[in-house]
Assembly symmetry: C2
Amino acid sequence: MSITSFIPPQRTLMGPGPSDIYPQVLQALSRPTIGHLDPLFIKMMDELKQLLQYAFQTKNTFTIAVSAPGSAGMEACFVNLVEAGDKVLVCRNGVFGDRMRENVERCGGIAIMVDNAWGEPVSPALVEQALQTDPDIKIVAFVHAETSTGALSDAKTLAEIARKYDCLTIVDAVTSLGGVPLLVDEWQLDAVYSGSQKCLSCVPGLSPLTFSEQAIAKIQQRKTPVQSWFLDQSLVLGYWSGEGKRSYHHTAPVNSLYALHEALVLLHNEGLEQAWQRHHRAHLELKTGLEALGIQFVVEEAYRLPQLNAVYIPEGIDDAAVRSTLLERYNLEIGAGLGTLAGKAWRIGLMGYAARNENVALCLKALESTLK
Amino acid sequence: MSITSFIPPQRTLMGPGPSDIYPQVLQALSRPTIGHLDPLFIKMMDELKQLLQYAFQTKNTFTIAVSAPGSAGMEACFVNLVEAGDKVLVCRNGVFGDRMRENVERCGGIAIMVDNAWGEPVSPALVEQALQTDPDIKIVAFVHAETSTGALSDAKTLAEIARKYDCLTIVDAVTSLGGVPLLVDEWQLDAVYSGSQKCLSCVPGLSPLTFSEQAIAKIQQRKTPVQSWFLDQSLVLGYWSGEGKRSYHHTAPVNSLYALHEALVLLHNEGLEQAWQRHHRAHLELKTGLEALGIQFVVEEAYRLPQLNAVYIPEGIDDAAVRSTLLERYNLEIGAGLGTLAGKAWRIGLMGYAARNENVALCLKALESTLK
């Protein structure tokens, strides 16, 4: 076996994530590792909590980063909030709504599905209708920004409807956090998870997570233990708690948390509104260029995510060949379609550090040359 | 809120992990992020698999790194191999045996406990006795190297006994991998998990994992779905499989995997036997020095882990004050006692890059000065 150090090329990442990483974040990542119970590390975690509260726009005490990717953040919400036999309304308009269903069922819960076509937002009317029909439903789960289609759903309205029927909400904000408005407290969302590798432009592997008081109360009223030890947030809380002695749960991914801290400092310095506007401006620029190339969007204009542009592959074009050429000639990654959009669409990400004019220019010119 | 970049100090990490990181590993960690489906990344993962097979001394096809810390690696073994009602023999001689019990119970399994005192190895005789008594037991779970006490158990003999009674083994090798002999194939272990942040001297956050053919067969014969979506290894296998198109499961922690790849290249270059010997030599040097200070080991000489030295705090010494002084005056971290050893013992780690003469010298001199 003759394996040597792996030296990756410098890519421009404009797929569905990981996105381009801020250079400052990579620097932070490689700072000296210290112990996960070191007083200085604990101080860093307290800061990280405040920074996450800013990013989520919440005062929730329970605001942390799960030590694993976004799909573990999703699972953390379901295993803590759902018990066997519980009915959960799951909105499905792409891959991640279906993953929510999987999660409900693996918790022994009953998933009541509300379906919208891929590329459409979740329909508030269908959600209300389902909740009227079945008063046993106690949780509404939906994806704020569907990474598989690029559609934005109206989290505020969906949460209002859920509350009207006395339901908690579980919200997938993996692709929305930092890219479009997400106001956890103002919209009264209950369990919201995200990912580090999208609009925060941090390395993949962490899942920001916040629970409202109502979510915490529901967890405290559980009749059965959480089926996952690793994701049991009542145990994790003892580790993230700022008060008194920190109790050991698992070894925190120290360096990845440095990176997330740095990414959030950058977001705070820029300002959330400025970041949202930057994503929007980059999207408009990309849109103009793509339309000039005759490329059509999957999602109607009103529901389009600026940070995740799903577009139809022009007719007669070889999907894989184009993506390979972009990668090989331009070191540019764009995303393939997922699920029902596989082979039919590309997903062009403008997330975090990638939402810049230079990225848009490179992508447009490279696509233009490759599609000729 | 005025939070700026977090600049950690340069510590010497001689606790129970994270251990001192190889400088090359920190370098690898901060290399440019590429996509987790990039052909070059997939090639890197194939290499990583080979390197992990070397570290585990196995030809198991299913040899991967779980995208989360060792406690998730532990849970991955239990949720995949245990179904509701299954009886599992759990050996408990420290914190992590008890965490195994938690895992069995949260899977709906029945944990039959074999207890040994903290600091003792698992008794093969007690294990055999328990298996004789209850022929329904189908899995034996034990900790190879107990991080909470520094005791090494005889994995080879325990696995022999398990096989005699037609049981599979789940083995915690979090602290043993790379520090003491661990021969997965020769000893015929079935499900073995470890951590990146111990004797591999990589950053925390990943859990190397290997399943034997027998373990895979048991997973394939399950009557019920694995309760965790994130840790369902039948789904993960599609992502790590070298054959054909890689299927998307979750976004891999790209940079952390670079770091693990580098740590394993370093281990392979040094050679496993040389690494084991280096840990042993450092331990002997530390032992001589500690004994000269009148400090006693928790574990009998025959079962002592070279990489994790649990020692009694001398009488009249203030545990926390000493550890604070070491940290503040020498930037040196040693570990506190855990569980029943809290306040009574220190845990001095000589793991991976920390198993060096300079670390031993610093630790001995700093302790000598502080205890005066």
